[in-house]
């Protein structure tokens, strides 16, 4: 508040209106609308951070706003953050810091290359150091630090999904002097621990077995890929996880690294090399399988006579440019009618799980009208699909929850591509 202002904001100590207690800071709506100072303290702090430099490059063209997924369900976007910083907002202690899902749609269209994918981790890192981290996120970070997975499950349980399962899986870390494998499959946290992820993991094994893929997994030695932790600002944790996983990648001889999770794909392809000095021959499983689509088709024994649509994961699509592989697989499914949604490929809508969003549900809910996943599920239903196909382990549970919370139970099912491929190869047990 500038000293010159005759009108001061009012904050009443005790106010109850129609039974609602809006005491103290909750009644600051009496604050005058005038901007009375351009306090650049926090803008300076942001741009001084390595990675934060481009925050004040914004020249307010506003192209980021219509493509920002958060702005569809609230008021948000790089342009607005830049202006709020220019008018004195303390981003380090503001909810705006945690709403960004790093979906990269803004950078795709930004003429000035204001890069939220660098700004957000940089500012969040400082916020964490200052102790300003949302509790729900803090819990996840502690889990990853202690147990190597965001769920806080024990390391032993990482292979629990293999119990009572007749698929052929070589757990390399349990073999003595294991022979090299063609494919080292990075299973990922959600495939390993989440019940719906377990379904997909077992499907993956059956499909690999049918295709005769020579593969192995790291079992209990596998750790969280760390990409989302990097994006919420825990760079140290990310580096530690990178070193740990890399140790095993180097130890167990393989030709290629196939991952279930686009976030892991992004980490191994683009960010692990900077930490470990090693390059990885990494493929997302849709890429690996799309190469063998003819063999897959030959193995199909059943049809999937459903109206399907597909959600592009931000970290496979915009971040890494892969839009074709999943579609190659979907188009191979016999009997399915593939209907694209409106916001696809480069323009794909975000599920809300990236950049830490997966663990910020209550904070995001406080600042938006609906979850991004809910917005997306409605779109899938609107185009007439009854199956929403995904290929990111974050998404099955996110979208299934969204189907329920939007009262669309029974109207839309959420399937991982691998589950459909498995089903069409004759395994009726999937899903």
């Amino acid at each position: 508040m500038g000293d010159h202002k005759y009108q001061k904001w009012v904050q009443k100590e005790n106010v109850v209106i129609e039974g609602v207690d809006i005491s103290g800071e909750w009644n600051r709506m009496w604050e005058p609308r005038e901007i009375t100072s351009y306090d650049l303290t926090y803008m300076d702090k942001v741009t001084a951070l390595p990675g934060g430099e481009s925050m004040d490059w914004c020249y307010q063209c506003a192209q980021c706003i219509p493509v920002c997924p958060i702005n569809q369900v609230g008021s948000y976007g790089p342009r607005k953050i830049a202006r709020k910083l220019q008018t004195g907002m303390n981003l380090f202690e503001n909810a705006d810091l945690w709403l960004c899902t790093t979906c990269m749609n803004c950078l795709r269209v930004c003429p000035k290359e204001v890069d939220m994918m660098k700004i957000m981790p940089a500012v969040r890192e400082q916020a964490i150091l200052d102790g300003n981290v949302p509790a729900e996120l803090q819990e996840m970070l502690q889990n990853v630090a202690e147990y190597g997975n965001p769920m806080g499950e024990s390391v032993r349980k990482r292979v629990k999904w293999l119990r009572n399962f007749d698929g052929q899986v070589r757990v390399l870390t349990e073999e003595e002097n294991p022979d090299p494998v063609d494919v080292l499959w990075y299973v990922s946290d959600y495939y390993s621990y989440h019940p719906r992820g377990n379904d997909a993991a077992r499907s993956m094994v059956r499909v690999f077995n049918k295709l005769g893929v020579d593969f192995g997994i790291l079992g209990k030695e596998e750790r969280c890929d760390g990409d989302s932790q990097r994006l919420v600002g825990e760079v140290g944790l990310f580096e530690q996880l990178a070193e740990q996983n890399d140790e095993n990648f180097q130890k167990y001889s393989h030709n290629r690294l196939v991952v279930s999770d686009p976030h892991a794909y992004n980490a191994f392809k683009n960010f692990y090399p900077k930490v470990t000095g090693h390059d990885y021959n990494v493929e997302h499983y849709t890429q690996f399988l799309a190469e063998q689509v003819d063999a897959i088709k030959d193995l199909f024994t059943a049809e999937f006579p459903r109206k399907v649509t597909f959600h592009d994961p931000c970290y496979l699509g915009r971040h890494n440019g892969e839009y074709t592989a999943p579609r190659t697989l979907i188009n191979a499914i016999r009997g399915a009618e593939f209907i694209e949604m409106y916001r696809i490929k480069e323009q794909g809508y975000c599920c809300g799980g990236g950049g830490g969003g997966m663990w910020l549900d209550s904070l995001v809910a406080d600042h938006t009208t609906e979850r991004l996943s809910e917005n997306r599920v409605k779109e899938a239903i609107e185009v007439g699909a009854d199956v929403l196909i995904v290929c990111c382990p974050y998404e099955v549970s996110r979208f299934e929850d969204a189907v329920k919370s939007t009262n669309n139970d029974g109207k839309l099912e959420v399937w991982d591509i691998i589950e459909i491929i498995d089903l069409c190869m004759g395994n009726g047990a999937a899903a």
Partner: protein
Amino acid sequence: MPELPILVIGGGPTGLEATRGISDLGYQVILVDKAEVLGGNPISGDYASITPQLRSAEDSMNDMIAAITDNPLVDQRLATTVVAAQGAAPALKVTLKNGTGEEVLDVGSVIVATGFQHFDPGKETQMYGYYEFDDVITLVDVERMLKGGTFIRPSTGEKPKQVCFIQCVGSRDRQIGNYWCSKVCCGVATKEAIEIRQMVPDCRVFVFYIDMRMYGFWEDELYWKAQEDYKVNFIRGIVTEITKRGDSLLVKGEDTTMGRPMEVLMDVVILSIGMEPSEGSKEMAKIFDIPWSHTVSSRPSAEP
């Protein structure tokens, strides 16, 4: 090859460059300027530097002047005005006047390069208080200060902490009859913003604008450089009122991209005054019967 010399009226950057070009082609030039020295506005206006390279205005103009000096093809007539003309190209009779009297010359053609004058900020409709408040100054006043190697708050002589530019003063304004964009003020203001940030690093600089008009590479050379490297703050929305509040100036406008009213204190307000045709240009238009009105719109209110 014309037998008669070519008359260039005005010894500013345009007239100097025209003179150089014509003499390079081997023609004779008579260069007339009403001032006692060549150089035009950059010299008479005490410009510090030239946009966008930020090179010293004096050095730049001296180079241009040197390029036509001691050239047998160029006849410099300073402190001289054109008072009459007869005939048409390729044979005109032009009357020049200086302190010693009048002289009629035969010339083949005439280039009028009498240029602009700075808009008088007392004429603007918003009443920014240029003549009332010491700390409301113009782009030209800033040039003069920068040329002297300083940037201060005129009322106190101290270094300012917060200053702003207000764009489009005297330009793009139907009410005052200036229905044009002066084209250079966005660049000049941005250049000065950079220079102020260089000279007084603690001073925050804001530019209030309607739209930043950066022609060609000025976009990167000035605008982006000012924003990214010099942390100049560009805020869309023109200030409409300046009032005194204590020792400071209160600028009042709308921060349009925030959709909020804005009232902020400034130590110095710089009016980005535009260009108007100079008195000399008006005179020459009469003498040479050059069409003056500029029809830009069928709307009657756009008529001058």
